[in-house]
């Protein structure tokens, strides 16, 4: 066991670090006040452009599509170093993490040439148009319709939970092209121009007050057949590529989310009825269990990285990360707010307690987004442990004849 870099890794890390010092100097501390959305987008584009030009974009992607053709360990080293700064990266995490790999896996050479470079350089932003109001966990039950009309398809329907839809240039879109086929077999995937006539984006406000997602409405939107990804009816297979990349992206504790350290600091400042909060056995056990969960996930991911560096593919084992982290955040935030009594209910702006309030709201969404706790436990039970799937209605019923049980 060795927590140190190999000489090659150390050299790459040193090179990255030097580049970041030269290029990310303005991002070494958090911004004094939060950026507005316009500024965030502008800064994100500028930063992605810099990375692209310096050869730090698409690190693991094939050279043929403009990537660097390096190993996942290079990607991880770059990510580790980049995350020591406060550079803005979230605008591209879905596009470059999930959409473009789907494009270069299933797209024609023309599509790859047209879309991949501009995505990689940050010039064009991408979003993912999968979920629908009646198709959440059960993605294959989507109802957005695409009908063939000569050389183009006409799309009607509604998508939901689309991050950065209003700032995206293009999206990957899963539609149903055959309602009389069984549920998984009537789907087809397209690239869609988010500026096309008939595309309407409406922000969704979350419980926390923020609007990180959108609804997207499609009314007679025309998509050229040449922008199709994969064969007609093969949309589910194409979507699985995207979802496999989601598995890599949905991970551990969100950066800067409160953890055990904050619980120690909050407890240190509270004198309860019986003792200093930090001395109370229940609080200490809560700190311990938060540490066990959060650090355990980190260490588990390091085990996966070690396997990755030996050539293994990340498997469904990684599903434990979010299921552990989200519930731990929720429980820890609730415990801390309890401990803080009325100060936890009306917390001062910018205080640790306010961060814990946000964490309490945010964690409720994190337990759902990117696979609910329940879906992730099913994945672990079925794909890791080999248990049989839930009993469900036959898979070969035509979609338009399915009667819910």
């Amino acid at each position: 066991m060795d927590f140190n870099d190999t000489p090659e890794q150390a050299a790459y890390r040193a090179q990255v670090r030097a580049w970041l010092e030269a290029n990310a100097a303005e991002y070494l501390a958090p911004p004094e006040k939060p950026w507005g959305l316009d500024e965030f987008v502008a800064r994100s584009k500028a930063w992605q452009r810099k990375k692209y030009e310096a050869g730090y974009a698409g690190i693991t992607w094939p050279k043929a599509v403009g990537g660097q053709g390096l190993t996942p360990m290079h990607q991880i080293i770059f990510g580790q170093e980049e995350s020591r700064t406060y550079v803005p990266t979230g605008l591209y995490s879905i596009g470059l993490g999930m959409c473009i790999p789907t494009v270069f896996t299933h797209g024609t050479p023309e599509l790859i040439a047209r879309f991949v470079p501009k995505a990689l350089s940050g010039e064009e932003v991408w979003c993912q148009l999968f979920s629908e109001p009646v198709a959440g966990s059960d993605l294959a039950s989507i109802r957005t319709r695409a009908e063939c009309d000569g050389e183009a398809w006409v799309v009607n329907g509604q998508k939901v939970w689309t991050s950065f839809a209003h700032r995206s240039d293009f999206g990957i879109l899963v539609t149903r092209t055959d309602f009389s086929a069984p549920k998984h077999r009537g789907l087809t995937m397209f690239i869609v121009d988010m500026k096309a006539p008939g595309v309407e984006v409406r922000p969704i406000r979350q419980m926390s007050g923020a609007s990180d997602f959108n609804e997207v409405f499609f009314t007679d939107v025309r998509v050229p057949d040449s922008w199709r990804l994969g064969a007609v009816g093969d949309g589910w297979k194409v979507a699985l590529t995207t979802l496999m990349h989601e598995r890599l992206a949905v991970g551990g504790k969100p950066r800067h989310a409160p953890g055990w350290q904050m619980l120690i600091e909050v407890a240190r400042g509270i004198e309860t009825d019986s003792a200093s909060a930090l001395e109370r056995a229940d609080v200490r056990q809560r700190i311990a269990s938060t540490y066990i969960a959060d650090e355990g996930v980190k260490l588990t991911q390091m085990r996966a990285l070690s396997a990755l560096s030996r050539g293994a593919m990340p498997g469904p084992e990684q599903s434990i990360a979010k299921v552990v982290v989200a519930k731990t955040m929720q429980d820890m935030a609730a415990a801390a707010l309890d401990l803080a009594e009325s100060a936890g209910f009306a917390a001062e702006k910018g205080s640790d307690l306010e961060k814990l309030q946000q964490s309490y709201l945010w964690s409720a969404g994190l337990r759902i987004a990117g696979g609910t706790d329940e879906i992730l436990r099913n994945i672990i039970a079925e794909r890791v442990l080999g248990l049989p799937g839930d009993l469900r209605p036959p898979k070969d019923t035509p979609f338009n004849e399915i009667e819910p049980l």
């Binding site: 039950s141 009594e341 469900r392």
Partner: protein, 367 residues
């Protein structure tokens, strides 16, 4: 033996539920959340017209002189409907006067509270992390009150406050007309966006002492019972919403209520709710009969109801999936209200400690 609510209380519950289903509910809560006014003024007028604020006020003071059963079912129904009115806050203040008020104080305030001319509130928190049993910084000296109470839920609506003050024997109470000189008020942002909170400052405001330190302890026990019923109502409404959703929403060709992960979670909500209801009834009985078990029964009711409410609020949201996390959905009312109920009277850990203290005394007495 008859471990059940009185028939009168059940009748009142039915009436209150029907009334509030028609007049209140999440829509009314959302309207108040989005508005400037700290409560639903029109609804409050109707609630007053129903006579509910006067429920526990003795007939001699213009009230209905009802028992604890009736008070508890009103709390449950307000909790269930999320009705954005200062009824429970007013009932809290009435209870303080009933426990500790002099005849003059009762005569002055009870009729006005009963008639809805005054809106009451009990305020103990000072924006720090103290429990209701810890000594406040607020002081009452020579009839002048100085200090700050925050966050005071319904404090923007109240016209009369019962506040805790330091005394040699522990926290004691003072009563203060919020229209007095030296009283300042401002809204405070807190987790519950419907039941709004205030910061109330007292700068040598005229006030009177209200009972002694033992009265404050007794009051917290009674309020623990009353607000346990509120929590039961809120948890019950959340659970019904989750249940309806589980019976309707489909995933992978099945209604999600068929999946054991969902149905067993709902069973757990029911179990926690039933345990909490049993303790809340015990508390109601102990309060109503002034039984020696009150300290124990009240603490148990509080702990069990907070446990039921927070679990139900969290898992109701979870069962709704993405939609439950949106601003437009009602899940947030329950999720946020659970924190408000906890903050209003001290956390589970505080009351678990009090419960065990009461049990130790009982164990000693039995030995």
């Amino acid at each position: 033996m008859d471990f059940d609510l009185s028939d009168d209380a059940k009748t009142l519950r039915e009436a209150a539920r029907k009334f509030l289903e028609a007049e209140a509910g999440p829509k009314s809560a959302r309207a108040v959340m989005d508005a400037e006014a700290p409560h639903d003024v029109a609804l409050w007028a109707k609630v007053v017209a129903q006579g509910w604020p006067s429920a526990r006020v003795p007939e001699a003071h213009g009230g209905l002189g009802l028992g604890t059963d009736e008070a508890c079912v009103l709390a449950e129904e307000v909790g269930r409907s999320l009705a954005p009115v200062p009824l429970l806050a007013t009932m809290d203040a009435i209870e303080a006067l009933l426990i500790a008020g002099s005849e003059a104080q009762k005569a002055r305030w009870l009729p006005r509270l009963a008639a809805g001319e005054a809106i009451g509130v009990v305020a103990w928190g000072e924006g720090d992390s103290k429990s209701p049993a810890q000594m406040p910084a607020t002081r009452l000296e020579s009839g002048r009150l100085s200090g700050v109470k925050t966050p005071v839920q319904d404090g923007l609506s109240a016209t009369l406050a019962v506040v805790t003050v330091a005394s040699a024997d522990g926290p004691a109470m003072a009563i203060v007309d919020l229209a007095s000189e030296g009283v300042t008020r401002s809204p405070v942002e807190a987790l519950d966006l419907v039941r709004k909170s205030a910061r109330i400052g007292f700068d040598s405001a005229p006030a009177e002492p209200l009972g002694d330190a033992a009265d404050w302890v007794r009051l917290t026990e009674r309020l623990a019972v009353l607000h346990a019923w509120e929590a039961l109502g809120t948890a019950g409404a959340a659970m019904e919403m989750a249940l309806a959703y589980a019976k309707d929403r489909q995933a992978f060709g099945l209604r999600i209520g068929r999946y054991q992960a969902v149905k067993h979670r709902l069973a757990d909500m029911y179990i926690k709710g039933e345990l909490a209801r049993a303790h809340a009834m015990h508390g109601c009985w102990a309060w109503g009969t002034d039984a020696s078990e009150l300290a124990q029964a009240a603490a148990a009711a509080r702990v069990a109801s907070l446990e039921a409410l927070s679990f139900t609020a969290e898992e109701t949201l979870q069962l709704h999936g993405g939609i439950g996390f949106t601003w437009e959905h009602d899940c947030q009312f329950f999720y946020r209200r659970a924190r408000a109920v906890s903050a209003a009277l001290g956390s589970r850990a505080h009351w678990a400690d009090r419960l065990v203290r009461a049990l130790e005394q009982r164990n000693r007495a039995a030995a």
